[in-house]
């Protein structure tokens, strides 16, 4: 029971870290309109790896239409659907502006 409680706490910490990282990159892209994004994204990936065990951050697409995903604990599944929130897990966030057509 004690061990399970500790694991739940750690999982909650990982979810908090992943949420923070998703919000960080999303907020940056929204405030910069995608300008100078490459440098920020490189640092963001490094930070994700520091904050989470086997942490990995991924961005698909580009501003203003993109999907951000965070994986940890060895999870590497592509689209992170549905989100997983345990000791291994992933969270993702998608931005698709109304009326935006990538083509």
């Amino acid at each position: 029971m004690q061990l399970s409680s500790l694991q739940q706490l750690q999982a909650s910490l990982y979810v908090a870290a992943a949420s923070e990282q998703l919000a960080s990159l999303d907020n940056y892209l929204q405030s910069s309109h995608g300008i100078n994004a490459d440098e920020f994204i490189d640092a963001w990936k490094t930070h994700t790896a520091e904050m989470l065990p086997l942490g990995r951050g991924e961005m698909r697409g580009s501003f203003p239409a993109y999907t951000l995903s965070i994986f940890w604990g060895g999870t590497n599944a592509g689209n992170c659907q549905p989100p997983q929130t345990g000791k291994r897990g992933c969270l993702s966030q998608e931005r698709r502006p109304i009326g935006y057509n990538a083509a």
Binding site: L6, L9, S12, L13, S32, I35
Partner: protein, 234 residues
């Protein structure tokens, strides 16, 4: 003899279970404390960065007219300034008080009790067209009103309905293992204990500050761990 042996074995098992439980509790507490510290510190810092330059009715754009004494500067470029380890944010306190009347010589204003003002305090008066920063030379109260006196007349014209707030100038840093806020009055408040360091990276786009990345270091048991957050500037 056998009974004694069995009893000691039971005691040893009970003791090792107790030790394991204590260790687990300590580990749980470490995780809990770490999460509490970093998430709260991050939330406070993001909130403060978002409030940088908040005036009330107008937004602080380049060229917005603000009259201010020489000792204070407030502009879009100076609403948040800092170094790698500390930063200072300027904004109006919320909620404001309403200006009810201005004396004909523009040195005394009458306000409601939306804020309690003190002698010596820096205040920001604002309507949607312009703003002015003044230091109160004497504040008095006659419920439900307050009277604020300035040593020189207001330069800008303010009508009844303008807003007035204390001007907050807060400096944030990590001192003695804690995130500390130092107000313009010099008063220090410990916001979160257990933060070992804070490192800031400022981000610009088209020459304007758009946000700040905070790297917070906090202890989780014997380890120092990093937590990152990005705070957009409004």
């Amino acid at each position: 003899m056998l009974a004694m042996l069995l009893a000691s074995m039971v005691l040893m098992i009970a003791w090792s279970v107790y030790l394991a439980m204590t260790r687990q509790y300590a580990l749980q507490e470490d995780v809990r404390q770490f999460q509490y510290r970093v998430t709260n510190a991050a939330a406070m810092l993001k909130n403060e960065v978002a409030r940088a330059g908040y005036l009330g009715c107008p937004s602080l754009q380049d060229g917005f007219p603000i009259e201010a004494p020489a000792e204070v500067t407030l502009s879009a470029a100076t609403k948040i300034i800092g170094t790698e380890n500390q930063f200072t944010v300027k904004h109006a306190a919320f909620p404001p008080a309403a200006v009810l009347d201005v004396s004909t010589d523009h040195t005394i204003i009458k306000t409601d009790l939306g804020q309690r003002f003190k002698t010596g305090q820096l205040v920001l008066m604002v309507d949607c067209r312009h703003a002015e920063i003044k230091r109160i030379t004497h504040a008095s109260r006659d419920d439900p009103f307050q009277f604020l006196r300035f040593d020189t007349p207001l330069i800008s014209e303010f009508d009844a309905g303008a807003e007035i707030s204390p001007l907050e100038i807060n400096r944030y840093s990590v001192t003695n293992h804690a995130l500390v806020k130092q107000a313009v009055s010099g008063r220090e408040s410990i916001l979160i204990e257990g933060i070992e360091s804070m490192t800031l990276t400022y981000h610009y786009a088209l020459g304007k500050l758009i946000g700040v990345t905070f790297k917070l270091q906090a202890r989780q048991g014997k380890q120092i761990k990093n937590w990152y957050t990005y705070a957009p500037v409004s």
